[in-house]
Amino acid sequence: MRRSAALLVGALGGMLAGAAFIRRQTAHRERADLYFEDGSMLSLTDGSPGADRLLPLARRIIGEARSR
C-alpha cells in the first residue's frame, strides 16, 4: 500500500517537474508572432526562415535602445 502511494507521488512529482521544465523552455524561446487583420496569426520560432530575418532586427532595436 505504502509502496504504491510512494510510486504515485513520485510519478506525479515527475510529471509536474517535466511540465514546469517544458513551460520554462517554451517561455524563454525566441520567436516572432505576426497578427493579421483577418484575425489570423503566424508564429515563427527561432530557427525558422522567417524568424531568422526578424530576430536579428529585433535584437538590434533592443540593443540600440539600451545603449541610449
Partner: protein, 149 residues
C-alpha cells in the same frame, strides 16, 4: 491628445514598456520616449517591412511581437499611424498590446491646414449682394385680364 503626451501616459501606465515611438507611414516621427526617435522609428519600420514580406495571405499585418532573450519588440499599426515599443523579457503580451492600441487610438491624427477663410465683404463692395438680388427672380405680378365688356 498629441503623441508625446500619449507616450508619457503609456510609459506611466505600463511599467513593462521601456521605450516607445509613434510614427506615420512615411516615417515621420510624431513622438518618442528616446532622444533619437528617428532611428528607432526607422528600425521598427524595417522590422515591419520584413514581417510584411512573410505574410501568407492578402490580409495586412496589424501587429507583431518579436521576443528575444533580452526583451521584446512590439509594433502596432492603425490606419496611417504606427507605434513601436520595447519591453523586458517575458512581458504580458496581451496587456502590452492592449496598452499600445489604447495609446495609439488616443493620438490625434495631424490635421491638414484648413483653407484660408474668405475675407468679409468690404463696405463698398455691394456688387455681390446686388448681383445676387439681380439674379434672384422676383415673382412677376399677374396681370388681370382686361374685362371682355
Amino acid at each position: 491628445m498629441d503623441a508625446q503626451h500619449a507616450l508619457a501616459d503609456l510609459t506611466e501606465i505600463s511599467s513593462q514598456i521601456r521605450a516607445a515611438v509613434v510614427f506615420d507611414d512615411k516615417g515621420k516621427v510624431a513622438g518618442s520616449t528616446l532622444p533619437d526617435g528617428e532611428a528607432f522609428a526607422r528600425a521598427a519600420a524595417d522590422l515591419l517591412a520584413a514581417a510584411e514580406e512573410l505574410k501568407p495571405g492578402q490580409s495586412p499585418l496589424t501587429q507583431l511581437e518579436v521576443a528575444t532573450a533580452d526583451g521584446s519588440v512590439f509594433v502596432v499599426r492603425q490606419d496611417e499611424a504606427t507605434m513601436a515599443a520595447i519591453t523586458g523579457p517575458n512581458p504580458t503580451v496581451g496587456l502590452v498590446f492592449y496598452d499600445l492600441k489604447s495609446a495609439l487610438r488616443s493620438v490625434k491624427p495631424a490635421k491638414p491646414k484648413p483653407p484660408p477663410r474668405k475675407r468679409p465683404a468690404a463696405p463698398g463692395s455691394k456688387k455681390t449682394s446686388a448681383a445676387k438680388k439681380a439674379t434672384a427672380k422676383k415673382p412677376t405680378p399677374r396681370r388681370k385680364k382686361p374685362d371682355a365688356s
